[in-house]
């Protein structure tokens, strides 16, 4: 891994931002909009090459899914990717071993469900992530009320935990979530599960506005952002976008690293030209 991720941990999730947040803040300060593609680890034999290709095509960070059997936040495309990955024998250990060997020069965030962390043990998982050079974790079914035990171990290991704010989240709850979110704040664009949508709707702008009133941590919009046009529209108010299903669908269709790079390149150009 590059020196970028070698920053010292902030014990207990303290005030010193971690590698992901430092990187995103620096990129934002330079005037860039932030692009974070998502792909599912192990979904295709060449997923690591795909990861490298999307970084080369201009990703500021990458969200790497660790497959879980019952992903309730995910729509059919990411469910299919998870099933394909599990069928290929992917485990949290195999993903982290692969990431630890990979040469990726942007921060990585893993996205998975809480049961895999709970079973591994908070401390063990936090240290495994750190050892593999993973900067952050996104755990969508770990609500604010249940966050404590994981956040403490993650903080001690120097792993940032990205929290989600939804259209249904109240102003007061948004403030509480933003106070504990590390890396960035994930603005859920709509009430619903992951998957491509024909239009992105107005909710995203409102969620970002709520987050802005609570924190200056970068706010990235995800869930439903599918096209360069939508990414551009979202970046008019947000600091950046997470694009998952639209990329994963292309990979499931066999477009491979080249197709992934092409799509991420289009997203990059679109938000840069904004």
């Amino acid at each position: 891994m590059s020196g970028l991720l070698a920053t010292s941990p902030a014990p207990g999730g303290g005030l010193e931002p971690g590698a992901l947040e430092q990187h995103l803040r620096a990129r934002r300060a330079s005037g860039a909009k932030l692009l974070v593609p998502y792909l599912m680890a192990g979904m295709t034999p060449d997923w690591l090459a795909t990861l490298e290709a999307v970084v080369a095509a201009g990703a500021d960070a990458v969200e790497v899914g660790i497959p879980f059997s019952d992903p309730v936040m995910d729509g059919p495309v990411i469910q299919d990717a998870a099933l394909a990955s599990l069928a290929a024998g992917t485990t949290p250990e195999s993903v982290l071993a692969a990431l630890g060997e990979a040469d990726i020069d942007v921060p990585l965030a893993v996205m998975t469900y809480y049961n895999l962390i709970f079973r591994a043990g908070h401390r063990r998982m936090a240290r495994s992530l750190a050892a593999a050079g993973v900067a952050a974790a996104i755990v969508p079914d770990l609500s604010l009320e249940e966050l404590g035990p994981w956040a403490e171990e993650a903080g001690d290991a120097g792993v940032e935990t990205v929290l989600l704010v939804a259209p249904s989240t109240s102003e007061a709850r948004t403030a509480a979530i933003c106070a504990r979110s590390r890396g960035f704040v994930y603005a859920v664009a709509r009430m619903g599960i992951t998957g491509e949508r024909a239009d992105i709707g107005d909710a995203a702008a409102e969620v970002v506005a709520k987050i802005r009133r609570a924190t200056d941590t970068p706010a990235l919009v995800g869930v439903g952002v599918s096209t360069p046009e939508q990414a551009t529209a979202v970046c008019a108010h947000a600091d950046g976008v997470v694009v998952g299903s639209a990329l994963v669908r292309r990979l499931l269709a066999g477009e491979g690293p080249e197709g992934a790079a092409r799509f991420v390149g289009e997203l990059r150009s679109a938000i840069d030209d904004g």
Binding site: D70, L86, Y114, F118, S143, A166, S168, G192
Partner: protein, 405 residues
């Protein structure tokens, strides 16, 4: 009522009480859902607590269960079966409730809450179809729109219940993901709920899921235990039965009847399907919004349950049962497919009652253990959670297959 501790475990003040704002049952329970759903869970918790403290709500709830639901359901003394087994067998007859199972108690409560929250639609998951039929029934009664998610496998093996739901005006959505059974129906219902939460209540069918569902569903089902407590006292010279036995999938009928006896010296016994025994072969984990005992591999990938009974085909169990097992206040055991079919046949032949395959698990354990784990002369209350009409075609096939074997 006695408030003493049983076998040194906490007394009724802590067992089967209020799990608090975060829904904790010892190490189990909680609320593990995406942020989009947290506000809906908070809203539901507040609405339930407000309603449950309102005598007017209780009046309406109990009036519907009486006038429409056929409550109270009787306790039946099984004279011939008792003689055969050498123990006194009493059945709490939830099979006689409207729609044929205990499920109606819960859905009437939740449908009333749906209205109270100003929502117009309900979604529900179903395994055997009992909860789906009950939800469709409550929705029709109260003028709500109803969509039921049901695994494709269960749609096939419970086609009559699918048609019942449709007759009642509900939409049945077959679920084709994963194992295509109850677990995946819950996944799909939760996914749908995220999108439709503004005007839709998720009418969860058992004492599982994120807080407040395990607590709320137990409270709605506690009417079973309250009735049975009084009925048993009348039949047993004021005493509680020596054992209270119920089948457990998610565990709502068991929670309902246990709650009436948790503060007595009755042994509480939950009987799981051998192929879906979350207490027997599961380990702690988090699924469907709750921390509980789950069938899963070492990494935490959820395993599929296997049972002839669609209603028990679930890899988890309600978190309060996990806690009752951990404290030792309730025992959990299991019954296999073959002895379950035998139990169903024996009850039919000796008592004239065809029960659901789910309920036959509780009976199978009693048949197996009478004179063993159940000392001769004991009094045993079995919660007969549902009637067997939905299962007769399947039982016929199973018996035919057995004859060939």
């Amino acid at each position: 009522m006695s408030a003493r501790a049983v076998n040194g475990v906490p007394g009724p003040s802590t067992l089967m009480g209020d799990p608090g704002p975060e829904g904790r049952f010892g190490d189990f329970g909680g609320r593990f859902v995406p942020e989009s759903l947290v506000p809906a869970c908070l809203e539901l918790d507040a609405a339930f607590r407000e309603a449950w403290a309102d005598p007017g709500f209780h009046l309406e709830f109990e009036q519907i269960l009486t006038e429409f639901g056929g409550r109270p359901t009787p306790v039946t003394r099984c004279l011939r079966l008792s003689e055969r087994l050498g123990v006194t067998v009493l059945l709490k007859r939830e099979d006689l409730a409207h729609t044929g199972s205990h499920k109606l108690n819960n859905v009437i409560g939740q449908a009333l809450l749906t209205q109270r929250m100003g929502k117009t639609k309900m979604i529900a998951e179903t395994g055997a179809g009992q909860h789906g039929v009950a939800s469709a029934t409550a929705a029709a009664l109260l003028g709500l729109e109803c969509t039921v998610f049901m695994g494709e496998v269960d749609v096939e093996r419970q086609s009559l219940n699918v048609f019942r739901m449709e007759l009642l005006g509900a939409t049945v959505r077959p679920v084709t993901s994963g194992s295509r059974t109850l677990k995946d129906a819950v996944n799909e219902a939760m996914r749908a709920w995220v999108s439709e939460v503004a005007d839709t209540h998720y009418c969860l069918g058992s004492v599982m899921g994120p807080h407040p569902f395990p607590y709320m569903v137990r409270e709605f089902q506690s009417i079973i235990g309250r009735e049975a407590r009084g009925q048993c006292a009348a039949l047993l010279d004021g005493a509680a039965p020596d054992l209270v036995v119920a089948c457990v999938g998610g565990g709502s009928n068991a929670a309902g009847i246990f709650s009436g006896f948790v503060d007595t010296s009755s042994r509480l016994v939950g009987v799981e399907a051998a192929g879906g025994s979350a207490i027997g072969t599961g380990i702690p984990g988090v699924l469907h919004g709750m921390k509980s005992q789950l069938l899963q591999d070492e990494e935490g990938q959820i395993k599929e349950a296997h049972s002839i009974s669609a209603g028990l085909d679930y890899p988890g169990i309600g978190p309060e049962h996990a806690h009752l097992a951990a404290t030792g206040r309730a025992e959990y055991t299991r019954a296999g497919d073959d002895e379950v079919i035998d139990a169903l046949c024996i009850l039919a032949e000796t008592e004239g009652i065809i029960c659901a395959l789910e309920s036959a698990h509780a009976l199978a354990w009693v048949l197996r253990e009478a004179g063993g784990a159940i000392p001769a002369g004991s009094s045993v209350l079995v919660n007969l959670s549902g009637r067997g009409d939905k299962d007769v075609a399947q039982v016929r096939e199973l018996l035919a297959a057995r004859t060939k074997r």
